[in-house]
Symmetry: C2
Subunit: 350 residues, 2 copies
């Protein structure tokens, strides 16, 4: 009896950063402290809700055209989705049909092993260097595909083009994903490599640098052959993954390059100030190419600091995992928010 | 060389109804001819875009609470997603982990076999009765799960509770999905059966009866045990499938029951008039419990009519498939749109 229960899936989901209510300082989900462009506000205010009775453009053509111009590619190189998590899930289904294991860093975005489990893909978490940087040598072995997040999370460390080319050159028979969720906050993007390699995929999100976490917008850039397969999976999963309003919001965000650059520059400046101050308080802090800092105190335990900050209404991210248990990932907020954080850290650490 | 191409997926996607530009009469995607509630318009106009920098509520708690009240269930019985297509895709992953075949009607929503292929689930398309109604006997055999769309598409035929109970009673070891995409236009919903059976799932969409195809909102209702697994899959795929605005739009739509009922009543009235007139023009038209009619002309071929209507700027749905090749599925539009359709059908058929 009740044997239907045996046919239910057995899986351990990804756990996102806590979503506390208002009145706290939220530095635990790498959200942008600044709102999206005012052009986004206008598009929403002026949107004609009466047309919502019709389906959106399933292909998202206008948005793809705009993205193609922005990145100097063709529309047939662009795929869009309901956040980069959805885009990555489609790529797992579309591109990794080998029995050989996927390779990705042992310390990285913890959603990668979850997708692999969900879609029954073999994988191997390969080691980082002791300083948390990526070691290209461990990606030379036989594999079914590679994911390199650049900059990596939660470390914030960005790799230069030479290292990426090295890994790609050693893997011309595999697909290499470069997950650029945070690259807008760094100094390098691998988009230019699409000219040289047709086996790579660049993934972007609008949740971080464009301040649109609440709207769910993700992008992938790849050769036509690969893009076609990502689209085939999308069209085999949900014909309309992006709603009519989201398609317009994404386009409006692209149209305000100046605002986008200003926000990023402010965040970078705040990041460098935060790193400098935290080091004075006895933290080891990695150089960051992202909108967060990765830090470990030389005396006080990370979990202890995490709990004390939470008591004081400041949420940062603590991962209770091997090799990460003495580290905190702290999103870069506004100057005011980081001022409050630093004052609280002072009372906790000094 | 280039063996990465061999690792790409091989799949035949679902093809939705064409999306022609403006200036045509679009009766090919079962969209609602009426806009969503004015309350939806207000929520969008007054939405504070500045909060989009933060992630949405991953769990959609407020919306689930509202839906639970609406359907007389607990919040733990409700799952929500980015359209019912996404919800159904999650259910395929969450609930059908048996090697035995899924069963669903040979003539039905053509996305079911696409999800089965995408996720490597065995399936068998079982026959309908010659009059296109569902034959419960063919669901008595050993299987890995069952999908009954009620009313079915593209036939529009609705089954009564007795038949559903019969199928469920014969399948207490399997999960039975009742896809109620169109049930708001009929006389019966199976939601009441959730009291008696913990192995069933009811799926709803806001794309048809609530005029929100452009916003992507889907709902599933099931026992706690099943709902938990659907949520586990959702959280293993994309932490935030519904954006902040969509969560508010869905809630606003629920809040306007009167408008919702009025639209449905108008569509039902137009449907009955359309059926009556089409029969006078020599069509065999099925009794419909949906927002479309399923019709075959006694003399003129369906493809011929489809193409002639398209030339005249009227899009209906034609399926070039065995057993369907002489039938058209025509969405019920406004009285004005159906008046134009009927006049054109007159010139084509008389």
């Amino acid at each position: 009896m009740n044997s239907w229960i045996e046919n239910l899936i057995n899986i351990e989901p990804y756990v996102p950063g806590e979503q506390p209510g208002d009145g706290v300082i939220k530095l635990n989900a790498n959200e942008n402290p600044y709102p999206p462009s005012e052009k986004v506000g206008r598009v929403i205010r002026e949107f004609d809700y009466r047309k919502l009775n019709k389906y959106p453009d399933s292909n998202g053509t206008k948005l793809k055209e705009k993205l193609a111009v922005y990145y100097g590619l063709k529309t047939s190189n662009v795929s869009v989705g309901n956040g980069s998590d959805e885009v990555l899930a489609f790529i797992f289904l579309a591109c990794f049909c080998s029995e050989k294991p996927l390779l990705f860093p042992e310390i990285t975005y913890s959603f990668y092993p979850v997708w692999a489990d969900l879609f029954n893909k073999n994988f191997e978490e390969v080691p980082l260097n002791p300083d948390f940087s990526i070691n290209p040598d461990v990606y030379y072995k036989d594999n079914g595909g590679i994911i390199i997040p650049n900059p990596n999370a939660p470390t914030g460390i960005g790799q230069r083009e030479g290292l990426l080319r090295d890994i790609i050159e050693h893997n011309q028979n595999q697909i290499v994903i470069i997950d650029e969720a945070y690259s807008d906050f760094g100094e390098y993007s691998a988009v230019g490599l699409l000219k040289d390699y047709d086996n790579i995929i660049i993934v972007k999100t609008y949740s971080k640098s464009r301040g649109l976490a609440g709207q769910r917008i993700g992008v992938s850039l790849s050769s036509e052959k690969i893009t076609e397969k990502i689209e085939a999976v999308k069209n085999s999963f949900n014909s309309y993954t992006m709603d009519s309003l989201t398609l317009e919001v994404a386009a409006a965000s692209i149209d305000d390059e100046e605002y986008f650059r200003n926000c990023i520059n402010k965040i970078k400046k705040t990041r460098e100030n935060t790193i400098k101050h935290m080091r004075k308080l006895g933290f080891t802090v990695m150089e960051s190419q992202a909108n967060f800092v990765f830090a470990s105190h030389d005396v006080i335990g990370a979990e202890d600091i995490f709990l004390k900050l939470k008591e004081r209404g400041i949420y940062v991210r603590y991962f209770n995992k091997p090799k990460l248990s003495n580290w905190l990932r702290i999103t870069v907020g506004t100057d005011d928010e980081m001022g409050i954080l630093l004052r609280e850290l002072e009372t906790i650490c000094l």
